[in-house]
Structure formats: structure tokens, C-alpha cells
């Protein structure tokens, strides 16, 4: 149905517009270095009367997430945006938001964690939050960041889920570059996200609730298992939301990851975020030369779609998993997931880990083409490979 409005906007502007259309009751945010412009654009919408949200201009990201937890528990639709150090600072409270089943939607402009302080893109910030209980969705471009921000609202507030959702987009590559993105009409979004009806709002003073109590060993474990159950419900609910959104937007979303020319490929790359755009160009070029190559781009990293990914990759000859963050002393976080997903397969593909793009280091078509060439070599070393780095 769509009737969308195609515009040239930066990733930050696109996300700010998604937030405007969602019209959250409360937004709490702080401009740490590196700062995300999302809240600046959003605050201008508030100042111009284009959205009726309460903006809490807190004194730190820690307080941003703390206020979000208070607001969400109170029964208000609540959003925030952050990046890098800000996410690291709020991490303590991200765990609490998830455990309190607060359906907060947060955007993360992926940028490298200090030190050294850097401000450019990599995934070390959001990967640090991967065990916090937050749902993580990675966007390839501004359009996906917009679409997932809207879908995240429905996913977070689903009664079988009730978890915070983090939508990420690559810092600078997506946040600061102008791209064409199609915004849905405001009223289409209003209808899509609907009214938020909280189950146990703190502000229901006639039915007082105690939220965030103290758990001893007799209950803590079971409360954690409730989070596990909620997380397990996510894939099915995400697919339902995708189906509805695809009808609205005329954009095709049907899966926990995107497969690009993958079905008959012998060699595949798995990676998250904006580098998928470059990788698709390389795949097309190599396909033109008769190479059977393809790409798998997870949209959802938490929960991780292990079973589906195993099915998509198990017949491949060789797979390179690209990580844009380090886990010092181990392999990259995405590699570990893919490796684990394939671990019980007898004839699994040869699997390799490539680290790329740390602190905003460029990755070009040539680098990706070289990896596909590497994969054809059955004697390729299974050590960590670093792309475009002086080793």
C-alpha cells in the first residue's frame, strides 16, 4: 500500500523521523562524546510542535537509561538513542531494563569503544550489550534503520515479548551520509504502532505494584528463565510484525536475516550492517564472472537465528564470518555464533573469521573480493584474518 514519501536524509534524520512518527510519551537522552544527532533532530521536532513527547535532557547516559526504565515502568511509551561510550555507560541499566521487561526502543549509532577514543564506526559498543537481554537488530542502510525502528516498537510491546529492542545503524557510514529513504505517511505509522497499553503501570496508583524487588536464590533463576522464554518468543513475533510491515511499506521483510544470492552459492560471507551494501556489489561482480558466491546478512543478532542460519549455510564449501569488533583472547562474536550454529553438522563448511573496519577503517570492494578468493583455497589458515590492517 505504501504511498510513502521518498526523501534524501541522513541516517540520523531518518531515525529521528521514525521516532517522531511513533510519538513516544517520553524520550530521555544525553549527548556523550561521540554524540548521536538523533536526539537533536528529535528535540527540534518537539520544539516545533511536530511531536508531543516529554524529552528528559539527562546529565548522563546512565541516567538516560535509568529515566527510561522509570518512564517505561510508569506506563509510558519510551525511547532513547545512544552510541559508543554512552551505551557502555548505560549498560548496567540496560540489563535492568531487560529484567524489568521494559519495552524501551533504543537506537544505537554503532561507534568504536574507547580506548583510544575514536568516534568512528565499529560494532564494539553494541556487541558489549549482547548478553544484556536486549533484542538486537542491525540495519544495512537508512531505510532499514527506519523500518526496524518502527517494527521494534511493535516487537518490544508484544505481550509475549516485553523486552527492550536495540536497533543499530553504522556510525558515519549510515548516520552522517545522505541516502534515499522512503518514509511512510504519519497516520500509517500511527495505525501500525497503535496505542501502548501497559500491563502493570506503576502509575496505576489504585493497584500499587512493587517493581524491581530483591530476589534471593529461591527466585532469581526462574525470573531469568522468564527472560529466556520472552527471548525465545521473539523470532516468531518478529516474522509476524515483518509480514504486516511488508504489506504496509511494499518492502520485503521475511526472515531473521537477508540472504543475497546465497541459495546456490559455494562460498559465502556473513556480516552485519552497512558493509553488506559493498559486499552485494562484489557478489554481483563475481557472479558475472561465473563465481558461485553469496552473502548472508543477519538482521537479528539477539536472539541469534542459529537454526535458520545453519540451514542456510550447512551445504556451503566455505564461509567467511566478518566481525567488526574484537573479543580479545577469543574469536569475534558473530563468528562464535555461526560456528556454534554449525557445530553439530558432519560436513560443515570450512569456516573462517575476518576482523574488519575497527575504529572506522575502510573496507572496499577489493578487500571483500580477496576474501572470496581466499575461500577457494582449501589450505587457507584458520587463524584470525585482519582486513586492511597493518599487522
Amino acid at each position: 500500500m505504501s504511498n510513502g514519501n521518498r526523501q534524501v536524509l541522513t541516517g540520523h534524520q531518518v531515525v529521528a523521523n521514525a521516532m517522531r512518527q511513533v510519538d513516544p510519551d517520553v524520550v530521555a537522552a544525553y549527548p556523550i562524546t561521540p554524540q548521536s544527532e538523533i536526539v537533536e533532530y528529535f528535540s527540534k521536532f518537539v520544539a516545533d510542535g511536530k511531536v508531543d513527547s516529554e524529552v528528559i535532557t539527562v546529565e548522563s547516559e546512565h541516567s538516560a537509561m535509568s529515566a527510561c526504565v522509570g518512564s517505561s515502568a510508569a506506563g509510558a511509551r519510551t525511547m532513547t538513542a545512544t552510541a559508543s561510550q554512552g551505551l557502555a555507560l548505560m549498560l548496567e541499566i540496560v540489563y535492568i531494563a531487560a529484567s524489568m521487561r521494559a519495552p524501551i526502543v533504543m537506537t544505537v549509532a554503532n561507534r568504536a569503544l574507547s580506548g583510544p577514543i575514536n568516534i568512528h564506526c565499529d560494532h564494539s559498543d553494541s556487541m558489549a550489550a549482547r548478553d544484556s537481554g536486549v533484542i538486537q537488530i542491525y540495519g544495512e542502510d537508512a531505510q532499514e534503520a527506519y523500518d526496524f525502528t518502527l517494527m521494534a516498537q511493535r516487537l518490544a510491546e508484544n505481550e509475549d515479548v516485553l523486552l527492550p529492542v536495540m536497533v543499530t545503524l553504522d556510525g558515519f557510514t549510515l548516520t552522517h551520509t545522505a541516502q534515499v529513504a522512503e518514509l511512510l505517511p504519519d497516520d500509517t505509522v500511527t495505525d501500525f504502532v497503535g496505542e501502548y497499553e501497559p500491563l502493570y503501570p506503576l502509575l496505576d496508583v489504585d493497584n500499587p505494584t512493587t517493581q524491581g524487588p530483591f530476589d534471593m536464590p529461591d527466585y532469581y533463576f526462574e525470573h531469568k528463565l522468564q527472560q529466556v522464554e520472552a527471548m525465545n518468543n521473539v523470532p516468531e513475533k518478529f516474522l509476524e510484525v515483518q509480514e504486516e510491515f511488508s504489506d504496509l511499506s511494499d518492502r520485503e521483510y521475511s526472515g531473521l536475516f537477508e540472504s543475497y544470492r546465497l541459495d546456490d552459492a559455494d562460498y559465502a560471507i556473513v556480516l552485519l550492517g552497512s558493509t553488506a551494501g559493498t559486499a552485494k556489489v562484489v557478489v554481483d561482480e563475481l557472479r558475472d564472472k561465473g563465481k558461485k558466491v553469496g552473502l548472508l546478512k543477519p538482521w537479528m543478532f539477539r536472539p541469534f537465528p542459529a537454526e535458520e542460519m545453519k540451514e542456510a549455510l550447512k551445504e556451503k564449501e566455505a564461509v567467511a564470518v566478518f566481525d567488526r569488533s574484537l573479543s580479545f583472547g577469543s574469536s569475534g562474536p558473530l563468528y562464535l555464533e555461526v560456528s556454534s550454529a554449525l557445530s553439530h553438522e558432519d560436513n560443515k563448511p570450512r569456516l573462517y573469521n575476518y576482523t574488519y573496519g575497527l575504529g572506522g577503517r575502510d573496507i572496499a570492494e577489493g578487500h571483500i573480493a580477496e576474501v572470496f578468493e581466499d575461500l577457494e583455497n582449501p589450505d587457507l589458515e584458520s587463524k584470525m584474518h585482519y582486513i586492511n590492517a597493518r599487522t
Partner: protein, 309 residues
Amino acid sequence: MANFKTLAKREEKYKKFESGHSLCEGCGLPIAVRTILNSIDGSVVASNATGCLEVATTRYPTTAWNIPWIHNAFENAAATISGVESAYRSLKRKGKLDGETTFVAFAGDGGTYDIGLQSLSGALERGHKFLYVTLDNGAYMNTGIQRSSATPKGASTTTEPAGKVTYGKERQRKNLTEIVAAHEIPFVGQASISNLTDLSDKVEKAVAKDGPSFLNVLSTCQLGWRVPPSDAVNIAKKGVETCYWPLYEVDEGKYEVTYEPSEKLPVEEWLKPQKRFAALFKTGNEEILKEIQEDVDRDWKRLKAKASL
């Protein structure tokens, strides 16, 4: 102003804070909390920092709270209540919520003077309409009596203990009430569990303000102060009568001493019954005792000067 009868009647009608919690005998916290909640006529929503009060009143699946209550973490009771209060204003503006509610944050001295100071300062500056209550017992009592920046000079704690060559904490405590007063919010008060009418009056003034308000309440910890539980209130009273803990308020910028002892007692009367100060009374530490008395005298004089403006 509400007298005890009114407070008791309110509690009889609706008990906002129930008995059956696991706070120690002789603990000052429930005395303060009941007085504060009963002094607020109408519904209250509270946030609570991690600490004794939170742990001992909400062990799942039990709760002592008959009001909406939220605990988030140690350092963010103010930020959390600012989120709740913002949600309240937003939902009311959008016509999704009716009625009037008072917002209160409870935290200990560690959760305020130390790790929660930034969160408090931010929430005060932003002007949320809420009352922040610090229940000051002068150390991290919940976790085993570790020193905080509220610990008085000369007190022995587990992280700055009196030993063979030390007498306990060497530095004077941080003056949090004055730090908060410097935010120039509508109401700031200092109160004690020993003077409940004074505490109640201050709560009434505080919550009537259209903006942030703050109360610093001296609250006995019999374990940390090492006093008999039955002496809890009397000891706090000594704090007031020696002017170690003056009762005063800053109402719209105007300082007022709300209780003046008829006879200002020597500070030893406050120190001596508390075993945490025992080392101060050993031979050789006379100078420290003198310094503490001088600190109290100086601060009292400064306060009186502010009140005379």
C-alpha cells in the same frame, strides 16, 4: 501542620508502609519512611535506591509497600523517579491519566552523597516535581559498614577502621544539604528521626512546592553506630542537641533553624555513647575530639549567620 494524631489516623485509614519487613530493631529507616508517607495526604509513588530499605522491604515475593514502588539500581533513584514523573506529566498532558500524585525518592547516604550525587544533581536542575529523601546513617550499612563521604570524622568503619595507628575517618563529612541548597530548588531541609513533628512539617512544605525538594534525615543504624537498639531515637536526639545535626530548612532561599536546643550540648554527648567513636576517647586523641567540637561550632555559627540574613 499535621500532628501525630492526624498522621496516625491517616495510617489507620491506609497503611502505605506495612510492618513485617526485615529491617533491624532500632533501625531509623522505617520511622522516617512511615512519618514521611503519612505526612503526604494522597497517593504517592516512590523510587528507592539499592540499600537496606530496598533489600529489607521487598524480598520477593513479599513487599512492605502498599504504594507504587520502584527500585532500579544503587545510583539512580533520582533519575528513575524523574522518568516516572516525566511519564506522569506526559500521560496527563495527552489525556491518558487523571488525578494528582506525589513523587518521592528514597536513598541512603552512600546512594546519594557518593554514587548517586550526579543523578540527584541532574534531576534537581531539570526541575522535576519530586521530593528526594536521603536517609543518612553515615556509612554503607547494608553491605557491612563501609565508609561513605557522609561518615563523620572520627567514626570507625570497615574500610577506614580505627587501628593501632589510626582513630577512624580522618576527613570531615561532605555537607550534602548545602550542596543541594546550592541548586536553589524551592525547598531543602535537614531533619532527624528524633524530631518527627519537625520532619513531618518539612515534608508537608516540600511536597507542596511546584518543583524539586530535598530532605536529609539523620537515621540511626544501631549496628554501624554500635549503640543498643533501644537507644536509637535518643542517640539521634543527641545529634540534634549537640548541633552536630542541626534541624533547619531553606525555603525559597530563606534559611531558618527550625529547632534550637535550649542548651547546646558538648559534641562528646553525641560521640561517647556510640562505639564507632570509641577510639576518640583513648589517650592521645584529645586533639581530634577538640577538632570535631570546633567543626560543629563553626558550622553551627555559619548556619545561624545564614538564618539571620
